[in-house]
């Protein structure tokens, strides 16, 4: 691999022409699957993700039931053809971990106490992957939950920040993820800025971390606007059809 890869050029532009605080292009569509109770299709840069919500429905097997509230179980899955070298189908350690942290993030905003003993299943399918799939997946899941009419305190949203070539930037792309210094995916509840998911790998000073976190939260708010618009667009057109 070429190690002299230049992640930021002399004009301060990144490899794909973005500035430090610019997100990749995000496209969100709500209610795209007929069978699911709620669904979403999301493109975030080169990521293509579907999310589908089923439930609330009886939690099976029964020992998983909680008599006081619903369980939110997200399943993050990557298609075999979504990456450069074919990935073996089925869950691996990485996707299990991502499923767990996403489930926990979503559970915080869903009003789970309204549905004792039930399960809300969130299926996230990554069809095309290009850095930042967990943020894309969680953002899609937020829209799918809203589309399913699941009562929530807020629509959760995620965005990453990181450090490349000594600079803090938002939303790492593929090369930036591979050759950068740090990656910090963050999910928030945008009304309160409460942090629902936070992971980091790499190396940041405390000041750099604070800056990256602020930037990631800023990115979450931008993505949140696109989420809301997608939901509005869907139900606007339903109204218009009457």
């Amino acid at each position: 691999m070429e190690l002299d890869i230049k992640l930021i050029d002399d004009n301060g532009k990144r490899m794909d022409g973005r500035s430090a605080e610019e997100l990749r292009k995000i496209k969100i569509e709500a209610g795209v699957l007929h069978r699911a109770d709620g669904s979403c299709y999301l493109e975030w840069g080169g990521n293509k993700v579907f999310a589908a919500v089923y439930g609330p429905r009886e939690a099976i097997p029964r020992h998983t039931q909680n008599p006081l509230r619903a369980i939110v179980s997200a399943r993050y899955n990557m298609a075999a053809f979504s990456v450069e070298d074919r990935k073996r189908p089925g869950p691996d350690r990485r996707s299990r971990e991502i499923s767990k942290v996403i489930s926990e993030a979503l559970e915080k905003v869903v009003l789970t106490e309204q549905f004792p003993r039930s399960a809300i299943d969130v299926n996230i399918e990554v069809l095309d992957a290009e850095a930042g799939t967990r943020c894309a997946g969680l953002t899609a899941a937020g829209v799918a939950l809203a589309d399913a009419g699941i009562p929530m305190k807020d629509i959760p949203v995620a965005c990453a920040a990181g450090k490349i070539a000594g600079q803090i930037v938002i939303d790492l792309g593929k090369e930036e993820d591979n050759f950068g210094d740090a990656d910090l995916p963050v999910a928030i509840s945008p009304r309160t800025d409460e942090i629902l998911l936070l992971q980091m790998d790499g190396h940041l000073t405390v000041e750099e971390f604070n800056k990256a976190l602020d930037l990631a939260i800023k990115g979450c708010h931008k993505a949140s606007e696109i989420q809301k618009k997608a939901i509005m667009d869907k139900y606007q057109s339903v109204k218009g059809a009457e």
Binding site: L33, R35, A52, R75, A79, A80, V83, P89, E125, L127
Partner: protein, 260 residues
């Protein structure tokens, strides 16, 4: 059978007696088909096919590997299907079950036996290095007739596949060599009615199922009967006729979409 399918069955057969289907189609009419190719950048070839509300995505990945010892000069083809829980409240996560395996095998047979992919052209060094073609089928939305949707998606994905020779350092990229593909059409029978391209409701009450793959000469290239019901000879002939008519239309649409 639980209570809902019985009520549904009554309703669907009463309609059928009047020559109608629940979604207003004729007995020998397919739902609207949409084909979109090259939808996944990371894949060597890909296609999303919608038949009515059913939605299937097929992706092709290729790699260099060893041939089977009994066919040292031909490439290897493997097909896998995942009935992911995204697509239906009844699909569960986990290793593929019977129905996913049957689906993958039927699609695999359709592609393999018709020799759509010219495997003998995928040899790099006899006995040592050949191309491996992986067809992975993801069901995204399930409203019946997965066989036809999955086959069509696989064919469309294959026909847009570029062999990644540069990436694997074995030469220049080139278009995957393909032959004319046969098109598969599935019909089901309930009571004494036979309908093509069953929706999920029709599939759920079906007694028997028949898939017929036809080629551009109007010949039959593969058949598969499923479920525990039976067909009469006349019914089979009717199914073949409907499969030929619809197959021709679908082939035309596939060609338009893939430019071949």
């Amino acid at each position: 059978m639980s209570i809902v399918p019985i009520i549904k069955r009554d309703y669907i057969s009463k309609l059928a007696e009047q020559g109608k289907r629940i979604d207003g189609r004729r007995f020998d009419e397919f739902r609207k088909i949409e084909i979109e190719t090259t939808v996944v950048n990371k894949a060597e070839g890909s296609a999303r096919v919608k038949i009515g509300n059913t939605q299937v995505l097929a992706g092709i990945k290729m790699d260099v590997g060893e041939p089977y010892s009994d066919s040292p000069e031909s490439g290897v083809l493997t097909t896998a299907a995942e009935l992911i829980p995204l697509a239906s409240p009844d699909f569960e996560a986990g290793p593929p079950r019977e129905d996913a395996i049957e689906l993958a095998r039927v699609v695999d047979r359709g592609v393999r036996e018709s020799e759509v992919v010219e495997l003998d052209k995928l040899c790099l060094e006899p006995g040592e290095k050949v191309w491996i073609v992986f067809i992975d089928i993801h069901i995204l939305d399930y409203d019946g007739n997965l066989f036809d949707a999955a086959s069509l998606a696989s064919l469309a994905a294959l026909s847009t596949t570029i062999v990644p020779a540069t990436r694997l350092e074995v030469g220049e990229d080139y278009q995957l060599p393909l032959k004319e593909p046969p098109i598969s059409c599935t019909s089901v029978k309930f009571d004494n009615f036979v309908v093509i391209d069953p929706s999920l409701d029709e599939e759920e009450i079906a007694d028997a199922r028949l898939t017929v793959a036809t080629d551009k000469n109007g010949d039959i290239r593969a058949m598969q009967k499923g479920l525990n019901g039976s067909f009469t000879k006349e019914e089979i002939q009717k199914v073949i006729r409907a499969s030929l008519d619809n197959g021709r239309e679908i082939k035309k649409q596939l060609s338009e979409c893939t430019g071949k």
